[in-house]
């Protein structure tokens, strides 16, 4: 994979930012930011693939992330057998009935030709179906939620290693995307944005309130990890020896034995934290590089060329016999799947699933700023956008505090204006995000690392 000169500059900038933060604020902080940056980069790549390659807008990012997070819960949380006993059959019955209902509606749509009759049949079947399903469903969910509501109150999961959920998350998101795509694709872009935003709100709403599935607002905590726990590391001989070895010169300079032990203990604790975060970082980077590699390959392939042709001139593509709607659906689903993977990774990193944390401002809109600022249609641009924007988002607060202090250097520490400004520090990052977006859209609308114009 060849990079242009300016792309190497971008990569260099990203790397140096982390080293910079590492020195100033500590490696722990730097790694925390790095991990979120990588996840953001993956989300951005997902959105970029559908928008940059094919011009299909995806404002439902929040929903797809949530589906990925749900996958993490369902794959890794141990099953709660009591809940399954209480409501498992009920849920199963409801699901089967739902499938029957959908099939019935599809059948009606295919066989009944008279439009009015079709509406009448559909309405009757749907209303009746919903009432029947509700009966089983509500019974089942109530019993499930009654099982140990403080700690459980839901079905639990499959008890598999959480890393599988990263792939399962992709599939969950893809499934939801398929449904959305069938309904909404073909609408004009800004309209599609509103619709995908709306549907993602519905998805998150469901997750927030169907407690039997996800514990809703009670959240799921204590998810399993793919990397070691700090506490285990701190007690592992090999780790202790490693830390001792890495800091031998520093330790040898301390004469007092108990002091040396103290320092060593601190180093071990810090080191365990860094080790865990670094492990995550390596895992995440592997995923990111895999996605990046395949995304780039796809972009350069004949399929990628076809996507660009459709994007740039849909009517012509249609005339040439390309099934535009089908291609759009494929790419929308793929993009959403990648976002789903990121969602699972995010929940893995946090170790908890908080449905009420999925908000459009924080997820959908910020990701889009990453896409636009980074450069739509360019995967490295997507990564760069993800890194830079997330980095700015996090560092905006300390930076703002610094700037405010500098600007108000003449004022008393108790000055009302100064205090009010310092209180408002967390809000300034919204201002920065907005301004960055506006500036980029005005002066560099293709993004910082724009799509490479290929002459084939």
């Amino acid at each position: 994979m060849k990079f242009e000169k300016y792309e190497w500059v971008a990569i260099a900038i990203m790397v140096s930012l982390f080293i910079f933060v590492g020195f100033i604020q500590g490696w722990s902080v730097s790694l925390v930011i790095l991990n979120m940056c990588i996840i953001s980069a993956i989300m951005t790549m997902g959105v970029n693939i559908s928008w940059g390659y094919a011009g299909v807008i995806n404002f439902g990012v929040m929903g797809f992330l949530a589906m990925g997070g749900l996958a993490a819960v369902i794959v890794s949380y141990p099953p709660i057998t009591e809940s399954w006993k209480a409501g498992g059959t009920g849920i199963g019955v409801s699901f089967v009935l739902l499938v029957i209902l959908v099939t019935a509606v599809m059948y009606i749509n295919k066989t009944v030709t008279d439009k009015r009759n079709r509406y009448i049949f559909n309405t009757i079947v749907i209303i009746f179906g919903i009432l029947v399903i509700r009966h089983f469903y509500l019974d089942a969910t109530e019993s499930i939620e009654d099982v140990n509501p403080a700690i459980a109150g839901f079905l639990g999961g499959l008890g598999l290693p959480i890393i599988f959920s990263w792939i399962v998350g992709g599939f969950f998101a893809a499934g939801v995307a398929f449904i959305i795509g069938k309904v909404a694709l073909g609408l004009r872009s800004d309209y599609l944005a509103i619709v995908t935003l709306g549907i993602s709100e519905i998805v998150v709403s469901v997750l927030k309130h169907e407690e039997w599935l996800s514990r809703g607002v009670k959240n799921v905590i204590g998810l399993k990890r793919p990397v070691p726990y700090e506490i285990n590391l701190q007690n592992a001989d090999w780790f202790i020896n490693l830390i001792t070895y890495l800091n031998s010169s520093k330790l040898n300079n301390i004469i007092d034995v108990s002091d040396r032990q103290q320092v060593l203990n601190n180093l071990i604790i810090d080191g365990s934290g860094i080790f865990v975060k670094l492990s995550y970082a390596i895992l995440f980077l592997i995923v990111m590089f895999i996605i990046f590699y395949f995304a780039n390959k796809a972009q350069l392939s004949p399929w990628g060329r076809m996507m660009r042709a459709i994007r740039d001139n849909e009517t012509a593509a249609n005339a040439m016999g390309k099934d535009v709607v089908k291609q759009h659906l494929i790419i929308f689903v793929i993009g959403a799947a990648i976002v789903g993977v990121a969602g699972a990774m995010l929940v893995t990193l946090d170790g908890l699933f908080t449905p009420s944390g999925y908000r459009p401002l924080r997820f959908t809109f910020i990701i889009w700023i990453m896409v636009i600022v980074g450069g739509s249609g360019n995967n490295l641009g997507a990564i760069f956008g993800g890194f830079v924007i997330w980095f700015s988002w996090i560092e905006a607060a300390p930076l703002t505090t610094f700037i405010i202090n500098q600007l108000t250097v003449g004022l008393e520490p108790t000055n009302a204006l100064k205090l009010h400004l310092l209180d408002s520090v967390p809000y300034f990052r919204y201002l920065f995000m907005g301004l960055i977006l506006l500036l980029i859209l005005r002066y560099r609308p293709k993004g910082i690392i724009p799509e490479k114009v290929r002459h084939s």
Partner: protein
């Protein structure tokens, strides 16, 4: 007979009056969005924040008036501050247009670019509001809160069910009727209003007829400023003011405009009430109502609630999606997308 009256009161109290009140707020919001969509031809994601800004300025001046002991007696002081809020909101709209949106209009950018730009504006205004007033919930209504209290009503009529009527609800309804009447009179009966409809209908022909595009754009933002500020303030008076709430309102507002028929002012208003009533009716627990209406043998044991109130929010989008499937141009056949 008494049971029947009680059931009516239940409906009025929990569905009809809140529905009309919330529907009016959505209608005003949707009307503002529709003006921008029909004339400036883009979906303005910043509209919620414009409403929030208008409400904020009104609140700041309400506090000022309250501190100076200037009031309106039984009416909320906010009404006095409202004109100032409106002017401030109009200025905000004009500035946003001049520094941001105008450029893309001249470039004839595609609507999706303008939508993205409006997201940037949304972030900026959101930040400014939070920096100025924080993120806490603010209650700023004063004056007589209730025109009719539930207890009062029960005593007056001897019925079991009480009817509560908040002054903010009545004010909302009255102001909405006034604004809507004025807006439609303006659009249908005045030369300027007609020229704006012409501009929305066929821009090239409108230009050829000598209609001044800059003037049309200016008047549009003035109208949007008025509608947004009033809608935001009324919502804050009625429920309470919390800066981040307005982001959540953007979607039901868009849903109202689209369901009613995108680009149609009348549709936007109807859409507002449709969405409001749907949200309330689909999530209301009808048990009480049925207890009054049905003979005791048929009384329901459950809550008789279609969807839990948690889903109120999701109802708007579900309606939007259903409308898209069945009748994409909306109820009043706006522009088909």
């Amino acid at each position: 007979m008494i049971d029947f009256l009680n059931s009516i009161i239940v409906l009025l109290n929990f569905i009809i009056i809140p529905g009309i009140s919330y529907g009016s707020q959505l209608a005003l919001g949707a009307l503002g969005v529709t003006f921008v969509y029909a004339i400036l031809r883009f979906a303005n994601f910043a509209h919620g924040e414009i409403m929030s800004f208008g409400a904020m300025i009104t609140i700041l001046f309400t506090w000022f008036f309250q501190s100076q002991n200037i009031g309106l007696g039984i009416l909320p002081t906010a009404l006095l501050a409202l004109p100032i809020g409106i002017i401030a909101t109009i200025i905000l709209c004009i500035i946003s247009d001049k520094f941001v949106f105008q450029y893309y209009r001249y470039q004839k950018s595609v609507p999706v670019v303008l939508a993205m730009v409006s997201i940037g504006v949304m972030f900026v205004i959101n930040a400014i509001i939070r920096i100025i007033i924080g993120t806490e919930t603010i209650k700023f209504s004063d004056g007589q809160k209730f025109i009719m209290k539930a207890k009062q009503f029960k005593v007056m009529t001897g019925l079991n069910e009480g009817l509560a009527l908040k002054s903010s609800q009545v004010i909302t309804i009255l102001i909405t009727i006034l604004l809507l009447t004025f807006t439609f009179w303006f659009l249908q009966k005045t030369k300027t209003g007609k020229s704006m409809r012409a501009f929305s209908d066929n821009e090239d022909l409108a230009l050829l007829s000598g209609i001044n595009p800059d003037r049309v754009v200016f008047i549009t933002w003035v109208i949007v400023g008025v509608l947004a500020c009033v809608a935001g303030t009324l919502y804050g008076l009625d429920k309470s003011y919390k800066p981040i709430i307005y982001l959540n309102l953007v979607l039901p507002i868009f849903a109202s405009a689209i369901v009613g028929g995108i680009g149609s002012p009348f549709g936007a208003v109807v859409g507002g009430y449709v969405i409001a009533f749907s949200e309330i009716m689909v999530t209301y627990a009808y048990k009480k109502f049925f207890v009054y209406i049905l003979p005791s043998s048929l009384e329901p044991s459950g809550l008789v609630q279609l969807l839990s109130t948690d889903y109120k929010f999701a109802v708007s989008f579900s309606i939007l999606v259903i409308v898209l499937l069945i009748r994409p141009s909306g109820i009043f056949k706006g522009r088909v997308l």
